[in-house]
């Protein structure tokens, strides 16, 4: 009688620590394996593929070809942490960039002011997403799919028959320029991405907002009962995602020195792949920003390396898909929470033990 509560207490005390330890190891392990993979990929391409690593400046310069994806991934991670999804990031990027470009081209606004208004526009578009999700109670998947159609059409309408191009050189530098320190060159895109990455890492891992974000994603009801204003957290996540998408759109238009309505289309799928590969659970509440940042570099450099090695775009796209499936499968097996696949595997192992008494019972009469 007195033993029972003790066992119960023991179990209750032990379960969270076991869970926490497993989760900590799981997450840390995931990031660590990504990092190892990144080192392998970089040194592998560096040694085996001429042109991949000729000098440090050239190598860093290559990041300018994929960092817009990384910028979107940072914002999109917040949304996925909450258990939602933002399918409108590509359309938001296009619309914000096209609007900024038109403000510059037709109204003669200073390009930087126009760019700033583009960022604000991205925030507004994210806010609309949040409003649709919170007030109309529409699933994020459907809500952002719908708004992505609307934003894309708006972008096409704003862009017109001849989308603006030929921005001032100072603005183009944001996309394709580099800060020269003697012969050493650091692309402006990287100088933009590094502080953002640090900021997002602190925001998710070290701030109260980050805790709330993850709690909402882990269990939105529990978050509500513990006093977290869930709609406010969701709104912040979608607004930030919208602004980051807009920033990526602006960087892309600087990179191409042109803004087009279909420019952001390529962003969405690769970015989701980066976030998921980074270890953020698509069901929310799990993952770390560090993983996402490593995944951005990993997928980005992998793609660049493959392209330089002469593999066609087709092969690289296929590989991205395969990596995505592989990473989700691996995560599902080791996940402590979703665990479907891992549990089923365990069940498969255990079933014979259950099945034996079953058959004897059937045989008995």
């Amino acid at each position: 009688m007195s033993a029972l509560p003790r066992i119960g207490a023991h179990v209750a005390a032990d379960a969270p620590t076991a869970k926490r330890r497993r989760r900590f190891l799981g997450m840390g392990g995931w990031e660590f394996s990504l990092l190892v993979l990144l080192v392998i990929v970089t040194t592998g391409f560096g040694l085996g593929v001429p042109g991949f690593f000729d000098d440090l400046s050239g190598f860093l310069g290559m990041t300018g070809n994929f960092l817009p994806f990384g910028i979107v991934a940072l914002g999109l991670s917040l949304v996925i942490f909450t258990g939602g999804i933002d399918l409108s990031v590509g359309a938001t990027a296009s619309l914000a960039a096209v609007v900024a470009a038109q403000l510059w081209a037709t109204l003669g606004l200073n390009i930087w002011v126009a760019g700033l208004l583009g960022l604000v526009m991205g925030g507004v578009l994210g806010g609309i997403n949040a409003a649709v999700i919170v007030f109309l109670r529409i699933e994020p998947l459907i809500a952002t799919l719908a708004t992505s159609f609307i934003y894309t059409s708006a972008a096409v309408a704003v862009a017109g028959d001849s989308p603006p191009s030929g921005f001032p050189e100072a603005f183009n530098n944001l996309g394709s320029g580099a800060l020269g320190l003697g012969s050493f060159q650091v692309p402006y895109q990287l100088l933009l991405f590094i502080p953002l990455a640090v900021l997002f890492w602190l925001l998710v891992g070290r701030s109260a907002f980050g805790r709330k974000l993850v709690t909402v994603g882990y269990n939105s009801e529990a978050a509500r009962y513990s006093g977290i204003r869930v709609p406010r957290v969701l709104a912040a996540a979608y607004i930030i995602s919208g602004m980051m998408a807009a920033l990526a759109g602006l960087v892309l238009s600087a990179y191409y020195s042109a803004a087009r309505a279909d420019m952001g289309d390529v962003l969405l799928l690769t970015t989701i792949a980066m976030v998921v590969l980074g270890g953020v659970s698509i069901f929310g509440g799990e993952g770390s920003m560090g993983g996402v940042i490593i995944a951005v570099l990993l997928l980005g450099l992998l793609r660049q390396g493959m392209l330089i090695a002469g593999f066609s775009d087709m092969v690289t796209s296929m590989l991205t898909g395969a990596i995505l499936i592989g990473s989700i499968a691996v995560r599902n097996i080791f996940s402590t929470r979703v665990g479907g696949f891992g549990k089923r595997l365990l069940a498969l192992v255990r079933r014979p033990a259950v099945a034996v008494p079953d058959t004897t019972r059937h045989d008995a009469p």
């Binding site: 279909d262 330089i308 775009d313």
Partner: protein, 331 residues
């Protein structure tokens, strides 16, 4: 006297012949170079036909040839490919662009590193390439489109246009060229509507059906786009208007062969994509050798003489596919 003149003519002819041989021989192929051909997307038969010609020419020109491009027709995909080619230190990049302005920064970066850029088919911004090979002259192609249907219908017929998209540069040039030609050559002919099939086979078919149902008097559809010509021809077939409505357009022969044989398409202009691929490689070789000036002339054995005018080279007159000749072309 007569003899002397004859001698003179002969001498002149001989000099010309020698000169043209000399011109053909001046292509210096001693140094092996790396040339890439980047189409709008891989897997489209017209671009494969370019590749076929380019590959054959590359062998004779001591060129390491690479055919690579994005899976979908995206400028972003092409830029990715350009970046990799720059890193791999190619000597020449040849490309047909998905978007003239978006590709420019990457190509300018290539040019800054000493890589020659040759565009063909669809041009990039003029300051982002060394040479552009234009398929045919716009007026010539506009004339060919009109002539391909006008011969088979009464001079006062109603004609419809089914194009790709509203902002398609080349299509719009052709449409204005054919409108201008029609006004002078067939003044009584009337263009009653212009529809767009978005370069999509099913949308083009729908647009074709719309034209035929909304304008029952239309005797010809001019569809200067690969998808729309097939859509228009399929619409004519579906509504049983074969022999009453004629279609022409701009497509590779394989895609329209059945409609040409069925008599829906009497004639359809294009250009020889295989030979164009050969020309692209010759220009790439000359550009790599720094042997071609912005205004210049050169000759290519088996293809003919070409003039460079302000960095633009016109490839050829339109090539008209008909029931008689279409089986000679497989692409």
């Amino acid at each position: 006297m007569i003899n002397a003149r004859r001698m003179l003519v002969l001498a002149a002819a001989a000099t010309l012949a020698v000169a043209s041989i000399a011109a053909a021989q001046t292509v210096d192929t001693s140094k092996r170079i790396k040339v890439a051909m980047v189409p709008k997307l891989v897997g489209l038969s017209v671009f494969k036909a370019n590749q076929q010609g380019a590959e054959a020419a590359a062998k004779t020109l001591n060129i390491d040839f690479l055919y690579t491009g994005p899976v979908t027709a995206s400028a972003q995909g092409q830029v990715d490919v350009f970046n990799s080619l720059i890193a791999r230190k190619f000597d020449v990049i040849t490309t047909t662009s998905n978007n003239p302005t978006q590709l420019a920064p990457a190509l300018k970066r290539a040019m800054k590193q000493g890589i020659k850029v040759v565009s063909y088919d669809s041009d990039v911004a003029p300051d982002a390439r060394d040479f552009f090979i234009q398929n045919t002259e716009y007026p010539a192609f506009g004339k060919a489109l009109v002539d391909s249907v006008a011969k088979y219908i009464p001079a006062d017929s109603e004609v419809a246009i089914l194009s790709s998209t509203k902002d398609a540069t080349i299509q719009n040039e052709w449409i204005s060229a054919l409108t201008a030609y029609m006004k002078t050559a067939y003044p009584k002919m009337k263009i009653v509507t212009t529809e767009y099939g978005q370069s999509d086979p099913s949308k083009s078919l729908t647009a074709g059906l719309n034209i035929l149902q909304a304008h029952p008097n239309v005797a010809a559809i001019i569809a200067p786009d690969g998808a729309s010509v097939v859509g228009a021809a399929a619409a004519v077939q579906k509504l049983g208007r074969t022999g009453k409505v004629f279609v022409t357009g701009c497509s590779n022969p394989d895609a329209i062969r059945q409609y040409v044989k069925a008599g829906i398409i009497k004639a359809s202009p294009l250009w020889d994509e295989v030979k164009e691929g050969q020309l692209v490689m010759h220009v790439a070789r000359l550009a790599a050798n720094n042997a071609l000036k912005p205004n210049d002339t050169f000759s290519v054995p088996g293809l003919g003489n070409y003039t460079v005018k302000d960095k633009v080279i016109i490839f050829s007159e339109p090539l008209i596919f008909t029931a008689e000749n279409i089986d000679q072309y497989k692409f």
